[in-house]
Symmetry: C2
Subunit: 457 residues, 2 copies
């Protein structure tokens, strides 16, 4: 079995990722001696950056993909890795964006800066169409260039002095940006967890929901539903418990609903469906997966004006200040597209794409069931979360890539709780998905009958 | 003379801006007593946010504009305030963006996520066309959604533990984002300066360049040339001094060249024209003013791989990590436009817009000269910086707005060194600029003959 070494030796930038373990330049004057033209600044490296132990997950996977391509230049790689949309945007949406873009070359149609917080029209449309009966006002919606960027702005908002809990596993940007803003201690060698960050295990054994009776109180709770990577959508009862827990402890929930449009059952699509959430939650959401806008960049964040700091100051005012100072608005072209998405025709077109990806998810789930592997998710989210008991997830990632030329995501990339799991993305065109299904079935059939002294997966 | 009160009483959100002086909710339990439905979190307000004394400058001006419009609903306001482009984008650029956008609805043309750091093609084009002979590699260029956003990412990169110097006056985002990241002490009542931030006065008396022999050593130096707001472009000799100063002190210069395309003399357009800059500078730049992309959002940052922290670690690796974790790439549509801007036809079209704005600047400079006011800038930048000796700049702002219905920017919004000055933006169509010129001439003619006991401006 070919296994890529976990210290990533086969990528060019190995020095970067392993720097914190084996500093090459421990002393600048040393370097100057070696190289007369050398000059080091006197600026200390930001200790928070130094704490980040690994490269960001997705660029790492992308580099492994490149390495694999160099090794097998004639093989067709199928990506079930990074959750990237593949199906065209409905024409009703692109044509509105294209028309708007063309009008920018006319005297009448040209537009300069928009409001930093986004156009009133789009904020209104999101309030009305996405939030409907929920008590979310247009003035509480901040348009952005995407959820990942908003998470980092929320970290700037709350600062480095507060405590944080995250689901384990979860989207790595929550932990990484918490480290960058200065909230984390060092990483613990044995557990792979950062000190001062509370990891709330969310796995099949607890129905993907933390045991709140034993969860310590923190200032901030990152919670993503439907969850990336497990695909689990929290139920109404679970979210009620979460809101109650946050109210009791005075916590702020940062709720990521980027995948809410994939929910097929009656799970809540927004934390604001839960009574009492307006006083404890910020919601981050995105057009990326909802509308295939991963490359177009558009998202939004809701900060209710009833969410208050301990001293009674409204959080929304500080968030407005962050957005105006550290951001300058989403592209007006993307915002125009965002409006078209919310039109009846736009919505209909997007729903057909979402159904398409969810059919892919069903195919993947069936594939794993037929192999005899336990697969979760795929019902309320475009991710399938597969258990490989006893195996390292980077090992499984490497073995699958080596044999089937399929890119996946190792579960441990989402936190220590993701070890032994692999996330398969259901984004892709049908032909790729069925081809992937065939390759996976063949691979695991062979593995199940292998006679190697190494453990079969 | 009508003067708007500096504590901004005529805008709705006065509670926000004056919060840090007169807390309305000093205690959450108090509020809960007042309002049974109230709930405060236990999350302390971020002390850094609490230190920000005023609202961000440009939204503040926009609110004053709205208030003025309510007072004079029939007057035609002319904005020489926020530096926002007004002239259409050349068709050769919008058509490429529109074509790309349309192709997103086709199987062949659809694109999802791009690299977080931007497309290779665009990075290559910027390296070749913008940096030409300068030693800047494509791999050192990070495409972004604009300079203001990059400044905040650079603040995340460098963290809260380093010391900072800024030009005074300068673009307010440098100071404000330094406060947000935790580098500043409290504001000093008398001077209006934040403690721990070094304000380097750059005014006519020192040819808009700090006396470096008396400037204290700091880790980071923000330097903008052509400067916003003064319009001064630093000379080659001045930048040589700056690079020498940074090398001597081990500082990192964060150089903002967002207005470099407006330089008409032989002043450097990039810090990297100066030998030795690669070891001491990061350069932030933008398509906003260069290409009228203020609403389209595109910029870039150069981090040379020879820029090292005190321990020898390359800054570029941490910046890459910040971009991958806290950002998800500029819109692909904007990037496509960015490529078209760098084509010969795109460049030619943009140059004609730049010349148009610079003709506006000449008209404004002549206007002030004819009035007998001293005006700076307007030669290498689309800003004219006018001195009103002995007057408060908010007073002058208010008086001009009240009488001429022209929006400007009070110099003190750019730092205490901007007091007594007003920034006039040369962005606007010619008709507005000539109309503004007439209104200003009439206003100041009347003022110069006024008999009021209040001082004439």
């Amino acid at each position: 079995m070919v296994i890529l070494d976990q210290s990533f030796p086969n990528v060019i930038t190995v020095v970067i990722s392993s720097f914190s373990y084996q500093p090459r330049y421990t002393n600048c004057s040393l370097k100057i001696q070696q190289d007369e033209s050398g000059h080091c600044s006197n600026v200390p490296r930001n200790l928070n950056m130094q704490k980040l132990q690994n490269r960001y997950l997705f660029p790492e996977i992308s580099m492994r993909e490149q390495a694999h391509l160099r090794k097998y230049p004639n093989e067709k790689i199928i990506s079930l890795g990074i959750g990237d949309t593949t199906e065209p945007v409905p024409e009703v949406i692109t044509s509105r964006m294209a028309d708007f873009t063309s009008s920018l070359s006319t005297d009448k149609g040209y537009r300069g800066y928009g409001p930093e917080i986004g156009s009133k029209e789009l904020r209104k449309a999101i309030s009305k169409i996405i939030y409907g009966d929920m008590p979310i006002k247009e003035s509480e919606i901040f348009i952005s260039d995407g959820a990942q960027c908003d998470i980092s702005r929320i970290q700037l908002l709350l600062g480095g002095e507060v405590t944080t809990a995250v689901q384990d596993p979860s989207f790595p940007a929550y932990v990484d940006s918490s480290v960058i803003i200065g909230r984390a201690g060092d990483i613990e060698e044995g557990t792979g967890k950062y000190q001062n960050i509370e990891y709330m295990k969310c796995l099949p054994e607890n129905n993907f929901f933390p045991d709140l009776s034993t969860t310590p109180k923190t200032h901030v709770i990152f919670f993503c539903s439907p969850n990336n990577p497990t695909g689990h959508a929290a139920s109404y009862q679970q979210l009620e418990q979460l809101v109650h827990f946050a109210r009791k402890n005075g916590s702020i929930i940062v709720y990521d609903s980027a995948y809410s449009s994939y929910i097929t059952d009656d799970s809540p699509k927004s934390i604001f469906e839960i009574p009492g959430a307006r006083e404890v939650a910020i919601e981050v959401s995105s057009y990326s997966k909802f509308a295939g806008f991963t490359g177009i960049r558009l998202g939004w964040t809701v900060v209710p004006d009833t969410l208050l700091y301990a001293n009674g100051f409204p959080v929304i005012h500080d968030y407005d200040r962050i957005v105006c100072t550290c951001f300058n608005g989403a592209s007006r072209i993307s915002q125009e597209g965002g409006l078209a998405c919310l039109s009846p025709a736009g919505f209909e077109g997007l729903n057909s794409r979402i159904n398409y990806y969810m059919e892919n998810a069903r195919i993947l789930v069936q594939t794993f069931n037929s192999i005899g592997l336990t697969a979760y998710g795929g019902v309320n989210a475009p991710y399938v979360w597969v258990h490989f008991p006893g195996s390292s997830s980077w090992d499984v990632f490497a073995a699958i890539l080596e044999d089937t030329h399929i890119i996946t995501v190792p579960g441990c990339g989402f936190g220590p709780g993701g070890e032994e799991y692999i996330r398969f993305s259901a984004f892709g065109n049908r032909k790729s998905i069925t081809e992937a299904s065939t390759r996976l079935k063949n691979f695991f059939k062979r593995r199940n009958h292998c006679s190697s002294p190494e453990p079969c997966l």
